[in-house]
């Protein structure tokens, strides 16, 4: 029974997390009001900006690499993924992202139904008069990037070049892959993106491993573990002995499958995201994904909350009434939400920080080449970058385990606090 629950939980996480990816980030579907204003501005900015673009922008590169994408890169190859896009008033468009004719850096050379692919993610052209269907854009790099001032904040504006005319696009529906919510956009992206594919792959992989192990336990009942079984058993027992039993007391068996599902889901995605040249998907570093995980923890904790738990939140015993009404109860209610919020941010922030640091170290090569030029700069950059990157990746390997463990142990402690019986 337990093993099926684990498998179901994986699928549950995947389905919900993939549903949340677009929804969370494209909820603000405002049409552009700033369009006219920005058009004037970027003409002025144009000349200054080109000087900057010559250099290597580490931050922009890092953000582009950690974000969710509509293509899956394996080494130099692009694997197209299905795009499922919905725009209000226009309806659903479903097509493969190979229709964009993807070039280097995830730049699409075609526009499909008014959608274009820029740096691996789909954007929509604002102008409703832009021709529908498959349209060939101008040149090898049919995009023009400008920084514009919108309400005093500097934003990026990507324009598409077609028939020697600039067409503005809005922010991608999953801004920075939904790391921090969405930009202003006018369509919904329900595509099977790189993150969704990674989650599905990992779920299938884990389901395969666990079903295999479960079968081995049946066949080899009472005998010593063998093969993959002897690799997984200590991890399983570790979570059971160090996390479930101390925090959950005698009810640990009920929550063990949930904790296991959490632990292995996070761990496998952490590790999968670190394999170089294999997509490098930043799934657990995506706030939308960790948001869903935290939401599930929140629901499980509060649904299982016993009388004592709610009593301690709303009417803490042994404290003067005035203190309870004005301080303790508001603080406890805030705490109820802050706990899953910190879970979400901790996991996301750790993985994002790891990925960004690695990209920054790799970026040293390009920075040195830009500074000193040619082979010398590249060589020096390479000599510095490789040891630092390897060091960081070793640390990240550790972080992958620690963060999965911390997420699980904190979940166990929250559930443990909720299901505790009164003992005064």
């Amino acid at each position: 029974m337990d093993k099926y629950f684990v498998v179901f939980s994986f699928f549950f996480f995947t389905v919900f997390a993939s549903l949340m990816l677009p929804v969370n980030s494209s909820a603000q579907g405002h049409p552009v009001e700033h369009n006219e204003q920005s058009h004037d501005l970027h003409k002025k900015d144009h000349t200054d900006n080109h000087a900057e673009e010559e250099g290597f922008n580490t931050a922009a590169t890092a953000f582009h690499h950690i974000s969710d994408q509509n293509i899956f890169n394996i080494g130099p190859f692009h694997i197209p993924l299905p795009c499922i896009l919905y725009a209000p008033g226009k309806g659903l468009s479903v097509f493969s992202s190979s229709k964009f004719d993807i070039g280097s850096h995830g730049i699409g050379h075609n526009a499909v139904d008014g959608y274009v692919l820029y740096e691996g993610s789909v954007r929509r052209i604002v102008d409703p008069d832009f021709p529908q269907g498959l349209v060939k854009l101008d040149g090898e790099h049919p995009f023009d990037l400008q920084k514009v001032q919108i309400n005093g904040k500097e934003k990026e504006q990507v324009a598409v070049l077609y028939n020697n005319k600039n067409y503005n696009t809005l922010a991608k529906s999953t801004l920075d892959g939904g790391v921090m919510g969405g930009g202003i956009t006018n369509f919904y992206d329900f595509s099977i993106t790189k993150n969704v594919v990674s989650m599905i792959l990992m779920c299938l992989f884990l389901a395969w491993i666990f079903i295999k192990i479960a079968r081995m336990y049946k066949i080899r009942r009472g005998k010593e573990p063998r093969g993959i079984q002897s690799f997984m058993e200590p991890i399983f027992l570790f979570i059971q002995e160090e996390v479930s039993k101390p925090f959950l007391g005698d009810k640990w068996e009920k929550y063990q499958p949930f904790l296991m599902a959490l632990f292995f889901f996070i761990l496998s995605l952490n590790l999968f995201g670190q394999i170089p040249f294999l997509g490098g998907a930043n799934v657990t570093g995506n706030i939308s994904v960790t948001l869903v995980l935290a939401l599930i923890v929140f629901i499980v904790t509060n649904l299982n909350g016993k009388k004592a738990y709610w009593k301690h939140i709303f009417w803490m015993p042994g404290v003067p009434a005035l203190l309870k009404i004005f301080i303790l109860t508001p603080v406890e209610i805030m705490g109820m939400f802050i706990k899953p919020l910190t879970l979400m941010l901790r996991l996301g922030a750790n993985i994002i920080a790891g990925h960004m640091t690695i990209i920054a170290f790799v970026g040293l090569i390009f920075i040195f080449r830009h500074q000193f030029g040619g082979a010398v700069g590249t060589g020096v950059g390479f000599g510095m970058s490789v040891p630092l990157t390897m060091f960081m990746m070793a640390i990240e390997l550790l972080v992958a385990f620690i963060q999965a463990f911390v997420f699980t142990i904190l979940t166990a402690s929250y559930i443990g606090a909720a299901i505790e019986e009164e003992h005064h």
Partner: protein
């Protein structure tokens, strides 16, 4: 001088986390030296506490990217 204050903020956050994790690690070592048989328990609690401290610092660093 150019650049943004956000970088300074990220640095401050790292100082705070450094002090915090240093204290945790130091006290854990003291604890283990005093009671070597409790090393396992102390170690897992140490990792948990370090992760909690680190989480706060990472939130500050991530926010510094966005301001």
């Amino acid at each position: 001088m150019t650049g943004s204050l956000a970088a300074l903020g990220a640095g401050l956050a790292v100082i705070g986390a450094g002090i915090g994790i240093g204290l945790i690690g130091g006290r854990a070592m003291e604890g283990i030296a005093r009671q070597p048989e409790a090393a396992g328990d102390i170690r897992s609690n140490m990792i948990l506490m370090a992760a909690l401290v680190e989480g706060a610092a990472l939130i500050a660093i991530i926010l510094s990217f966005f301001v």
